[in-house]
Amino acid sequence: MSETLELILQTADKLFSQHCNKELINQAETGQFADGLWQEVEQTGLLLAGVPEQYGGVGGEMSDFFRLLELAGKHSIPLPLADTYIARLALYEAGIDVPDGPLSFARAGAAIPFGRFSRGVVLWSEQELRYVPKISDEFVEAYNYAGEAADRVSIDSDAAVILSTQHDTQWWRGLAALSRSALMSGALEFLLDSSVNYALERKQFGRPIAKFQAIQQQLAVLAGQYSQARQATRVAALNTSSVDFIRSVAVAKSVAGEAAGIGSEIAHQVLGAMGFTYEHDLHHRSRRLWSWRDEWGNEAQWNIYLGKQLAATDPDELWQLLTA
């Protein structure tokens, strides 16, 4: 790990621990933007991680930002960090002035994450990226499983600017999908920690439930799922300038999405009724996992994408592709 990355992660972990708690996340669900936390993130320059210096960033690797997203997922940060980062990157590449404040990055025609709070949205389609600097105030307010704003809005296409970026649209979609994998990896880490701690504390039949093999076996599965999701995500994040980037995103989104389902099921089983309450903070992670695994392509969609690509090759050359 580079020193810069270490510093970024330390700073972020400290900031997230100090400024984001259960109450703040709950408040965000009532439609309040976590403005204080947003200001802290901006002032600390976290969103400049892995942004090339030519765009005013701190340089480093793009994978640095995905590591930061793991932490954001772990802490359930109720801000559009991933979207703002990706949208800003698209604007930098297109040479367009980046406004202050949060931005959205959304599939054209789909819900716009944090739309009502955004200063602008970059709309993705197979053909192009378009930037809409001003979103109309006519929102149909809607929410994802985690209670995060995912608004419907009619876009004034006259105001849209087509972005001419160095990367193609597939790459941008890959970045968006990978951001969800990174968030999921972080949330899975929380699930593992939280379930292990609970199992060690909670006593039934006169001993901590951690002592029961049935619980141990489940948590071992969760540890495996988390490890696999994190590994695939980190591999893909190091691959952003490779020709195989989209393939590694497909892998990461597929295995992380699967881990989200398996992992949250296990954590909820271990935490029992306590974890099913609104009072407990498990649902901040599990509900986000259920949203993120569907955003920017669920497991099936990425598996089909990958499968079609691989099925088109000579079977005797499949191994070469898998090891590329």
């Binding site: 920690d193 076996q217 495996g224 696999q228």
Partner: protein, 379 residues
């Protein structure tokens, strides 16, 4: 807690690319001379001739010191060779155990004499090893092993039975875990390892056909079997520690992911490029897992290279990997076309019939999950 899960997103170094190409050229050259369908289940088939060819290339014992004839190469280079051979479905059974774990155990604990005598034979593909761990009353509970050795004037007198011993019927040597003293309160105390020459009298090897009708594992009975003093491997009484260190080598390699890989290859051949969404989804899902698991396995190989103890990570890879390889034929059979070739059917059949063993051999899924749970601090 989870910080103890030390997976790193490392890739194989570029310096392994030439080696990989060399192995692929070798595979292309040798495959037509093998008279069996490719099978990526590493203990499906065994050929001394094949292992000798491999030995001649310097690809057995490749991480071992040159002084014993080894290659002095890295675990990452070994990883490249092993995964290429398994993916190609070649008959690696003859040298596999010796190359993976018996050799490393000998290197770590063996006497100079044992190393000089045995390692060069393994390296040439001429010595086959088997693992003497399980017994009739000792499966997952290895410490219940009862096979015993008593020191006498003529050497160690060994009595007992080893069971489920893969390849014993063509093996030259066994490394056996044997009780040399009563355990007492510490069940793990009193064990020693022995290097046993299976070609000496007093050992009886009985075939146990598996459910596929194949002869891979055996019962090995020692009746008043004399093992010379020089057969003691490592320190007397240190057997448990030695056997545990052996397991890390056994638990994380490509053979724990790819056992059913050839079914995927043969399904693609059947489909001939025409896939519907259902088929594509299965092919994609399985491939995604291969790619992800492989990178976890590489991370473990790097830990071995760095001299770290990857026991926890290796168990995670084996748990995920063996469950995955078991799922593979199950998913593929459901998307196969109605009419398939004999080649596909035979490949699928071998995978389905051998799949029950995938999550048993080398430590059951349940034992591995227990190891992981311990690593998480649960027990």
């Amino acid at each position: 807690m989870n910080t103890s899960l030390d997976f790193r997103a490392v890739d194989l170094p570029d310096s392994t690319k030439d080696l990989r190409q060399e192995v692929r050229d070798f595979v292309a050259h040798i495959q037509p001379q093998i008279n069996a369908l490719p099978d990526s289940n590493f203990d499906a088939d065994s050929s001394k001739w094949f292992s000798q060819q491999l030995g001649a290339k310097g690809w057995i014992g490749m991480t071992w010191p040159k002084v014993y004839g080894g290659g002095g190469r890295s675990f990452l280079e070994r990883f490249v060779v092993t995964e290429e051979l398994v993916a190609a479905g070649l008959p690696v059974g003859f040298h596999w155990i010796a190359d993976r774990q018996s050799g490393p155990v000998l290197l770590r604990y063996g006497s100079e004499e044992q190393k000089q005598q045995i390692l060069p034979q393994i390296i040439k593909g001429e010595a086959c090893f088997c693992i003497g761990m399980s017994e009739p009353d000792s499966g997952s509970d290895l410490a219940a092993a009862r096979c015993s050795a008593k020191r006498t004037d003529q050497g160690w007198l060994i009595n007992g039975t080893k069971l489920w011993t893969t390849g014993a019927h063509h093996a030259d040597y066994m490394i056996a875990l044997v009780r040399t003293e009563a355990g007492g309160d510490d069940r793990h105390a009193g064990f020693s390892q022995f290097l046993i020459d299976l070609k000496t009298p007093g050992v009886e090897i009985r075939s146990i056909p598996n459910l596929a009708g194949k002869h891979t594992f055996n019962e090995v009975v020692f009746t008043d079997f004399y093992c010379p003093d020089s057969g003691l491997l490592g320190e007397q009484g240190n057997g448990w520690e030695q056997v545990m260190s052996e397991l890390a080598f056994e638990r994380s390699g490509p053979e724990r992911i790819l056992s059913a890989y050839r079914v995927l290859v043969e399904l693609l051949r059947e489909l001939n490029g025409e896939v519907d969404d259902r088929q594509a989804e299965v092919i994609g899902k399985l491939s995604a897992h291969i790619i992800a698991l492989r990178r976890m396995s590489i991370s473990v190989a790097l830990m071995l290279e760095e001299g770290k103890n990857p026991a926890l990570e290796a168990s995670v890879v084996k748990d995920l990997g063996t469950n995955f390889e078991k799922m593979m034929p199950e998913m593929l059979r459901l998307v196969a076309p109605i009419n398939t070739s004999e080649r596909f059917q035979e490949t699928l059949k071998s995978a389905i019939l051998h799949a029950p063993s995938f999550t048993l051999r080398g430590g059951t899924r349940e034992i591995l999950r227990g190891v992981i749970a311990r690593g998480l601090g649960l027990r």
